[in-house]
Symmetry: C2
Subunit: 217 residues, 2 copies
Amino acid sequence: MPMKHDIAQRLSQYRSVLYKLKALGFVRVFSDNLGDALEISPALVRKDFSTFSLTGNKRGGYRIDDLLDKLNRLLGKDKVQRIIIVGCGKIGQALMSYSGFTREGIQVVAGFDSNAAVIAPQASIPILDIKELKTYVKREGIRIAIVAVPDNSASHVFDLLRAAEIKGILNFAPVPLKGAEGCVVRNINIGLELENLFYLVRFAGKVPPQPAARPAG
Amino acid sequence: MPMKHDIAQRLSQYRSVLYKLKALGFVRVFSDNLGDALEISPALVRKDFSTFSLTGNKRGGYRIDDLLDKLNRLLGKDKVQRIIIVGCGKIGQALMSYSGFTREGIQVVAGFDSNAAVIAPQASIPILDIKELKTYVKREGIRIAIVAVPDNSASHVFDLLRAAEIKGILNFAPVPLKGAEGCVVRNINIGLELENLFYLVRFAGKVPPQPAARPAG
DNA sequence: GAAGATATGTGAATCGTTTCACAACAACGA
DNA sequence: TCGTTGTTGTGAAACGATTCACATATCTTC
Ligand SMILES: NC(=O)c1ccc[n+]([C@@H]2O[C@H](COP(=O)([O-])OP(=O)(O)OC[C@H]3O[C@@H](n4cnc5c(N)ncnc54)[C@H](O)[C@@H]3O)[C@@H](O)[C@H]2O)c1
Ligand SMILES: NC(=O)c1ccc[n+]([C@@H]2O[C@H](COP(=O)([O-])OP(=O)(O)OC[C@H]3O[C@@H](n4cnc5c(N)ncnc54)[C@H](O)[C@@H]3O)[C@@H](O)[C@H]2O)c1
């Protein structure tokens, strides 16, 4: 139950940085290097590694290959992760044809849509009728889905995915789906990110949450 | 300097929920209602409001219209926010044609690209040559940009935006751009979100950060 | 092989955020 | 008018995450 809210995120980031360092010819890293790269303190890097028993050497830091092996295993990078995309509109199709996933060991194996004009079972990544969702998910053992349907279909699609016993959802509809027993949800709300950015920019430097000068007293 | 890292995010979420309640005919809300909606405690809702001097009534809760007025002002929703998109490929174009932004008072006023085949200065949302970026940004007083260029162009584009004195960036390239003096950056890394989801799903319920049973002793 | 230099690994201290708990107050009913 | 009810507003407590600080291990050099 106690889940450090973004240590896993950092693990992925360490991994990404480590690959870059490795490509540059480095063999070892120090907690300072990783701290600089992620803009966190070296102590936190060490704490994180310690949490997952990623050990180094009291002098020469950490062996990059060693860290990468362990991180890859920890993050499930030793096998290709297969996902589906529900809603093959603008966002959905952009994601389906995104080559960056492959590099990360993520494979989009199918799309699903309710619009007959979009369905294309013979495409290299087949787009199937949403009615086939449950059968497909069960047969192929899919655990993760991306939701990219219009806002007003999102909660219906959410129910379908739950019925198909999907274990994790990445949701692009600006309708916060609430995680439920046995199904983790992460919401990506681009509008919200922008609003946040406006706010941050507006109050950059200035007194941010203006606690309203107390009426003299 | 001390910046509560996601209180602004919550402010936007309150706003969104309040509009839904209003549409349903509600006039007042209680901290409990908002707490339920955002899956946070009512106490935090009250603390947040208190921080921004959003006051309610000791019995009948908060007046929705009142909250919305104040939140809108606080979040800069009283005027349309004008943004640009750099990199008009798959993601960039999906965002340019996304109608959801308009609803939120966000207007994409131009796109920029380096590929002549994509440039279209006469389109309803013009796509201009990246060379015109600085001039345009200064002339139009643009403060926020979305970056949707390929990974290896990201940091170059970042420099161009900084030179144009852009104040905030929403970055889709999986290359963590580091915020700098006078420029806030938010990175959206979809691959990272997916990896995180895999991790969460893999360890759902089970012992998560396996602290490696100590060697008897 | 001892001395010095340098990084890790981690318990304790710190810091920021969230929750608790309750006084203060508004509305309502008798 | 006065008690009862229900909700806010907020100091203080609890909690969780991060940083500090240092003992400990390893490498390097003489
Ligand atoms: N396009 C963007 O840039 C953008 C940005 C932020 C958020 N979003 C959000 O992402 C979601 C998708 O946006 P989009 O622009 O790709 O929309 P879109 O209209 O282009 O695509 C939606 C697709 O979902 C399909 N669909 C509708 N109901 C369905 C159902 N019940 N089952 C299966 N498929 C169904 C439609 O046929 C369509 O192909 C929306 O919720 C939108 O708010 C989009
Ligand atoms: N497509 C996706 O689903 C997806 C998902 C996650 C992340 N991303 C990331 O988003 C970014 C864009 O992805 P995409 O699929 O839209 O790529 P894309 O190749 O379709 O589009 C990139 C656009 O940027 C333009 N460009 C290149 N260099 C430029 C420069 N120096 N100045 C201005 N414009 C320039 C190109 O001409 C092209 O139009 C990439 O970094 C990618 O990793 C994309």
